[in-house]
């Protein structure tokens, strides 16, 4: 019983979590998006993992997509690396992400203070940076960082703006714990690589996603001279991403749902057994109550109420257990879960229904006892 309600609570909480994650994804990436990743992306525990460093995706690929693919409206290449960042005596490790100004629109990045950097600054590889709110918090002790000089690795950068806070993304990465710099600056002056990790591509509308994806795949295969080899990149469009996300968690939801159903059933049978025993062992009580004026329906009501109370207690402990499990699942297991009070309500209602359904038979049996038989019982 308790486990059943717990499972219901977990299920609803996780359902909410997944829904939020999908919405986040859409919000974070804008709409009508295709993402090209270098190498292979796998989902581990509901999070994306890149299998190995792959160096074949280049800025030239990004430009080619922009120039040759018909349905594409914006292309935003990206490279990132975890680096040490220093300001005065403070320093920390954070994701330093090189992007073009196109990323601001494609990835829905807004400015809180200061300004964006522009294409000219990208082309001339200027050392300018946009920082996230966590950086402001930790590195600048919440002071206004705009105009200050920081060091990323060894190179000095000027902070030109602060990004609006976005929170933790679907993969558990804090999107405010990062610094954006022009991608050309990143490649020439900082990481000194010729390859990039990602390209975000926006198409005019979602009906074009499939065709654009096909075009991009053909283009990249040709440019990478893959011939008969498998892709050395992963293309995901938003529709597929949302789908994958849902599928990766559907199994779990199903599992939890069946646990819920089974344990509610087991709980119900438990109640049935307990109440049938009570009905047998308390025959004298039933007889006595009948003798002093209880009608059959009074006996039935009493027994039904008792079933409900047992079920309610089970439901209560279940709700507590479910909250705890959902909490642990999100904190330790990394599964998305949102605590939902209405899930607890649902759990309690379900347990009440189970209590009623499995209480009806014993209650009717108790009510059907003839008073004289009940009194004579040993």
């Amino acid at each position: 019983m308790a486990i059943g309600v717990a499972a219901v609570v977990v299920m609803v909480s996780m359902g909410r979590g997944i829904q939020k994650r999908v919405l986040d994804m859409i919000h974070d990436m804008g709409t009508n998006l295709i993402v090209v990743n270098a190498g292979h992306i796998t989902l581990v525990g509901g999070r994306e993992r890149q299998s190995a460093i792959v160096t074949t995706l280049r800025p030239g690929d990004s430009d080619a997509i922009q120039d040759h693919c018909a349905f594409v409206t914006e292309v935003a290449p990206e490279t990132s690396r975890k680096m040490n960042v220093q300001w005065e005596s403070e320093n920390l490790m954070t994701d330093v992400v090189g992007v073009t100004p196109a990323a601001f629109q494609v990835r829905n990045i807004k400015i809180e203070m200061g300004r964006y950097f522009d294409s000219a600054e990208n082309d001339t590889a200027r050392r300018v940076a946009l920082v996230g709110s966590v950086i402001v918090e930790k590195l600048f002790n919440a002071e206004d960082p705009v105009g200050h000089r920081i060091r990323i690795g060894q190179a000095p950068f000027e902070v030109v703006g602060v990004m609006k806070a976005k929170g933790v993304d679907a993969n558990g990465v804090d999107r405010d714990d990062r610094i954006l710099i022009p991608i050309k600056t990143a490649m020439r002056r900082l990481v000194r690589t010729t390859y990039i990790q990602k390209i975000h591509i926006q198409v005019a509308h979602s009906g074009h996603l499939q065709r654009a994806e096909k075009e991009i795949r053909e283009l990249l295969r040709e440019r990478h001279r893959l011939w008969d080899k498998p892709d050395d990149f992963t293309i995901q469009n938003q529709a597929t991403l949302v789908q994958t996300e849902k599928e990766s968690t559907r199994t779990l939801t199903l599992l939890v749902a069946s646990v819920a159903a089974i344990s509610l059933l087991v709980g119900g049978i438990g109640i049935l057994a307990v109440m049938l025993t009570a009905c047998r062992e308390r025959r004298r009580e039933i007889g006595l109550r009948r003798a002093v004026g209880a009608r059959r329906r009074d006996i039935r009501t009493q027994f039904l109420l008792e079933s409900l109370i047992i079920a309610g207690l089970g439901g209560f402990f279940g709700a507590a257990l479910g909250m705890l499990s959902a909490f642990l699942a999100s904190k330790v297991g990394g599964w998305p879960a949102i605590e939902s009070w209405d899930a607890i309500g649902l759990g309690l209602i379900l347990s009440a229904i189970v209590g009623l359904i499995f209480g009806i038979y014993p209650a009717s049996k108790a009510a059907a006892l003839e008073p004289i038989e009940a009194l004579r019982a040993e």
Binding site: R290, A291, G293, R295, R296, P371
Partner: protein
Amino acid sequence: MIKIKNIKKTYTKASVSTPVLRGISLSIQRGEYVAIMGTSGTGKSTLMNILGCLDKPTNGQLELDGVDVHGLDDDALSALRNKKIGFVFQQFFLLERTTALDNVLLPLIYAEKYPVDAVKRAKKTLVSVGLEDRMEYLASELSGGEQQRVAIARALINDPDVILADEPTGNLDSKSTNEVLEIFSRLNQEGRTIVVVTHDRAVAEHAQRILELKDGQIINSVANSKLKNSSDH
């Protein structure tokens, strides 16, 4: 008050019919104190249960307070037991993990309307059976005599027309037996109708009238000549 005519009761078990009551007629007046006597197994309890509308006769008529019970449905019988009959059983039948007070209140729960002064009434009734300092005790914490007095208080709470007591002293020692019989005598003096079933002549002799049951029939109905005055004790 109570009128029965040619009551028969036959138990049928595994297609063997056992006639227990073979045509009993009697009438009990309001305010009477009647004992039904007989050896064990003669059908005293069966008769008592029929009088109390807990059981139905195979044949015959039962009239309570001018109402023919035969035509009443189950709910109406419950209401009738609640209002007009107070039961006292040999085994007391109290709710064990319930206080004396709540045991006495039980019939009021099933009354048509729960009286506003229920608790006051229950306490008064408990006082009248000498249990003023046992009200909050659980039934299981009381002695047999005390338990039976709680049961009597419970029988009295709805101010019934008749008290039906089936071997009320069967599980009691002589001291508690006397206490219970004294209460019955006092209640009868206050005008209460009482029917006591017993196999014990000493108990029966507290009644005004003694009916003897044998082989499913009343073989003797006598006014009690040796009626003791309850104040003799």
